[in-house]
Symmetry: C2
Subunit: 313 residues, 2 copies
C-alpha cells in the first residue's frame, strides 16, 4: 500500500471483467491478481458476485475470494449482490461493501433481472433492513447502483428525471453510497457533467457518489474528466479493460484501470497507485487469461519521458 | 456538403495518416477518399505534403491531389510544407492553406528537420514574405504549427514559456493561424486546459487556433474536451486513426475523425458532418489499405439507440 489518495479507483475486474469472459479463473488466480493490485496501491476491489453458482460459474467461489481478500491490509473488499439471499451470503463472507444494482430503464431491468424497478427497489429495502438487523454498527456499506443512467440499448434515451427519481429512492431507502453507471457505453461528456451536477443538487454532497463508465464508443476517459469537474471522486475500472455487460448487446469494455490511473496522476490527482505495480498486476492477470484480449494504451505506450506521477510527488 | 458548423474538423489522414503507413495510395485512391469525406460534410482536408518526392514517395503526387481536390465545392484544401521551396510549390498548386510546422523542442526540431528552431523561424518568415509578394490579397492561409507543445520524446517536459515564446514569434512573423500539436501523445487534459488558457492570454482570440492530438495514451478525446473548454474550435484528426509521427518513437495514432465527430455531435456541437457518410469514406479508405490496421470505436459500436446528432437537429 502506498500513500494518500484524492481519487478512489475501484477495481471491478475480478467481478465485472471476469463475468464477461470465457476463461474460468481459479480462486488462487483471482487472489494472485487481487493481491498484486492491492500491492500496487489499489484500495478497493470488487472481488465477486453472490449470484447462484449455476448462473455464473465464474463467481461460484466469491465467498472464499472475499474471505481471503479480507486478509489484505487496508483493502476495501466489495462484491455485487442481486438480492437478499446474495446480501446475506455477502455479509456472512465479510464483504466491506455490497453493490446492489438496478436499471433506471424499466425494460433493461426486466431484461436483466426479470423484475420491475419497484420490485428491485423493494429488494433493496430488504437488504438494507437485513444489514441493519444483523449489524448494530451497520458497517457493511450498501451501494445503490443505477444502471443505464445515460441511455439504454432497449429504451434509448433515459430521462434525467428518471435517474434523479431512482437516486432519491435509493437514498431514502438507506443507500450509503450511489454508483451511477453508463452500462452500455452511451454517455458523452456534456451529458455526464449535466447528470452529476443535477445529481449533487438532488442528493447533496454528503453521500459518496461513484461513476462507472464503459469505453464502448471511446469516450470513457473524457467522461471521467467531465465527472471530475462535477465533483465525482470515485471511479470503477477494469485492469486491461476486461469485461463489459453480458446483458447489453454491443456494450464492451469498462474503462481501463491503468489508463485511468495514468490520466489522473498526469493531471496531478493522487490515486495512491503505483503504475509499475499495476502493470505487474496486469501481467499476472494476462498470464491466467489464456489469450483472451485485453484493452488499454498505457501498457503499450508506457509513461512519457520524465513523467512524475502526482502520488510520487 | 451539409449545414453549418460550430467546430471545424480538419481531416489530416491523406497527409499525416498516409505518411506513416506502408501501402502506397494512388492519386485516384486519395481523391476517392477525399471526395467521400467532403461529401460527408468535412470542410477542410490536408491532402498532401510538398516535400522532396524521394523523401516521401507517398506524397509525390501532392500537386495533382491539391489541384483535383480544389475542384470540390466548399472544401478548404490544406497541405504541409517544410520550407520555402515547398511553399512555392504549394501555392502554385493552389492550396488554400499551408501548414508550416516546427518543434518547440529544439532537440526534436533538429532531429525532425535538421534545423535549429531559429532557422525554422527564419524559414517561416521567408514563406510569409513569399506569399505576400505573390498574392496581393494574401489569400493562402499560412498556419504556424507548434510540434511537441506538450512534451517531447527526446527532451521530456516542455516549459509552457517556450510554447508561448514560439507562438508569439509565429504571430509576429505573420502566421494567419496557429496549430498546437501533441506530436508524441504526452498531453493530459489539465495540461491542455492550462496551455490553451495561457495561449489565448498570450496571442488573443482574434487568431484561429487549432489543436492536434494523438491518442497514444488513450487521452486524445479527453484532451479535445479540455481544449473545447478553453475555447479551441478547430481540431485535426484522421479517419480510422490512421498514422502517427514517423520521427517520434512510440507515437502512434492521431485521434479518430469518426470518434471525434461522434463525441462533438453527441455533446450538441455541430460539425456539419454526417456520420454515415464518414463511415462510407472509412470503408473506401480501408479498401485501399490492403489490411493495414485502423483504429476507432464508433465504426465498431455504431451510434446509441435513438441518437440524434447536433448537426441533424
Amino acid at each position: 500500500m502506498t500513500g494518500k489518495y484524492e481519487i478512489l479507483v475501484h477495481e471491478v475486474g475480478p467481478r465485472d471483467g471476469l463475468q464477461s469472459i470465457s476463461t474460468l479463473f481459479s480462486t488462487s488466480a483471482k487472489l494472485e491478481w487481487i493481491r498484486a493490485e492491492a500491492q500496487a496501491g489499489v484500495r478497493q476491489i470488487q472481488v465477486g458476485s453472490f449470484v447462484p453458482p449455476k448462473m455464473l460459474p465464474q463467481m461460484a467461489d466469491s465467498a472464499e475470494v472475499v474471505a481471503q481478500a479480507k486478509q489484505i491490509e487496508g483493502l476495501t473488499v466489495s462484491a455485487l449482490v442481486p438480492n437478499l439471499k446474495g446480501a446475506q451470503n455477502g455479509i456472512a463472507a465479510g464483504a466491506d461493501q455490497l453493490g446492489v444494482v438496478m436499471s433506471v430503464s424499466e425494460a433493461h431491468n426486466q431484461s436483466n433481472v426479470r423484475r420491475s424497478l419497484n420490485e428491485s427497489l423493494a429488494g433493496f429495502s430488504q437488504i438494507v433492513a437485513y444489514r441493519n438487523e444483523v449489524e448494530a454498527d451497520r458497517k457493511t456499506v450498501i451501494s445503490g447502483g443505477l444502471a443505464t443512467s445515460f441511455g439504454c440499448t432497449i429504451s434509448g434515451k433515459i430521462p434525467l428525471a428518471d435517474v434523479m427519481a431512482l437516486a432519491e429512492q435509493l437514498v431514502a431507502r438507506g443507500a450509503d453510497r450511489l454508483s451511477v453507471a453508463d452500462t452500455v457505453g452511451y454517455a458523452n461528456p456534456r451529458q455526464v457533467r449535466e447528470l452529476f451536477d443535477e445529481l449533487f443538487r438532488t442528493v447533496g454532497r454528503d453521500i459518496p457518489v461513484g461513476a462507472h463508465f464503459h469505453d464502448t464508443r471511446g469516450l470513457g476517459l473524457a467522461n471521467v474528466c467531465a465527472a471530475l469537474e462535477a465533483g465525482v471522486r470515485e471511479f470503477d475500472s477494469c485492469l486491461g479493460g476486461l469485461g463489459g455487460c453480458p446483458y447489453a448487446p454491443g456494450a464492451s469494455g469498462n474503462i481501463v484501470t491503468e489508463d485511468l490511473v495514468f490520466m489522473l496522476e498526469s493531471m496531478g490527482m493522487k490515486t495512491g497507485i503505483d503504475l509499475d505495480g499495476l502493470l505487474t498486476a496486469r501481467e499476472i492477470m494476462q498470464r491466467h487469461l489464456k489469450g483472451e484480449p485485453t484493452q488499454g494504451t498505457f501498457a503499450k505506450a508506457g509513461p512519457p519521458l520524465g513523467f512524475v506521477p502526482a502520488s510520487a510527488a
